[in-house]
Symmetry: C2
Subunit: 120 residues, 2 copies
DNA sequence: TGAACATATGAACAGGTATTCACATTTGAC
DNA sequence: GTCAAATGTGAATACCTGTTCATATGTTCA
C-alpha cells in the first residue's frame, strides 16, 4: 500500500483505452490481497516446506531436520503459511503435525513449475 | 540462497520419513527458481500491471497513467516482468507496447484469485 | 512436582526490494 | 542538425522480510 501521485509530466497516448480499463480494474484491495497471497509462495523456505507437505503430513522438527534449518525458522514460516490458509495443523501431545489445507496449492505450484520449465 | 546449519539441538521424530523425503526433494536450485518466479507475482504493482495486460496490450505511459504511478516505477517493474518472461514487448517508433508472454499466467492468476475467495 | 522435550514468539539484525530522482538513450518531427 | 517525447537505468533511500537468539508456553513422563 504505497500509492503516491506521479510527479506530474505524465502523458497518455491512448486515453480512451485507459479510461475503459480503469472501469474494469478490480478494487485495489483485491489485487493487493492477491499479491500478498503470491508473496507467500515467493520464498525458498516456504516453497520447500510446501513441497515436503505435498508428500506427507509432518511435524515441525522433522521439517527442520529435512531442510537443515532451525526449528525456530521453520516455525516462523509455518506461521506465515498458516496465515495464508495454506497449511493446517493438528496437535498430538506436544508434537504438532502440519499438512496442506487446500487443493489449489498443488495446481498453482505445478503451473509455476511448468512455466519455468518452458521458458528455458 | 541462505543456508546455514541449524544450531545443533535438532531432534528428529520420524527419521525414516525424513530420509525418504530427502530422496524425493528436487534439487535446491529448482525450488529456488520456483520461489523466484512466484516472487514476481508478489507485488501489488506487478499484479496490477499483469491484470491490465490481460485486457489489452499497452504502452508504458498508459500503464503509468492507469495505475497512477510514475513512468519510471512502471518501467522498473516491467523490467522484472520481462526478466521472468511474463511479458514481451514490441517497439513502434518511440512507443513500446507490452503484452503477456505466456498462457500459464492467467491460469496461475485465476487460481490464486480463487483461493483467496474461498478462504473467507 | 520437576525435568526434558516440542513448539511458539518477540526483538534485533542483515539483506533484499520498490520507489524516487536525475539523467541517459532512442526516435520522430521540424 | 535541434527539440521534444517515450522509455530505460543507476544510485540513493526507506521500507519490508527472513533468520537468529533468547526465552516463553505447553506437554509428557518419572
Amino acid at each position: 500500500m504505497n500509492e503516491k501521485s506521479p510527479c506530474c509530466d505524465i502523458t497518455v497516448i491512448h486515453e480512451e483505452l485507459v479510461e475503459q480499463l480503469r472501469k474494469t480494474m478490480p478494487p485495489e484491495e483485491e489485487l493487493f490481497n492477491l499479491a500478498e497471497f503470491f508473496k507467500v509462495f515467493g520464498d525458498t523456505t516456504r516453497i520447500r516446506i510446501l513441497y515436503a507437505l505435498f508428500q506427507s503430513e509432518m511435524c515441525v522438527c522433522d521439517i527442520a531436520h529435512l531442510l537443515d534449518m532451525t526449528q525456530s525458522a521453520i516455525s516462523h514460516q509455518l506461521r506465515v503459511l498458516k496465515g495464508a490458509k495454506l497449511v493446517r495443523y493438528r496437535k498430538e501431545g506436544r508434537v504438532v503435525y502440519y499438512s496442506l489445507d487446500d487443493d489449489h496449492i498443488k495446481a498453482i505450484f505445478d503451473q509455476g513449475y511448468q512455466h519455468i520449465q518452458e521458458r528455458n
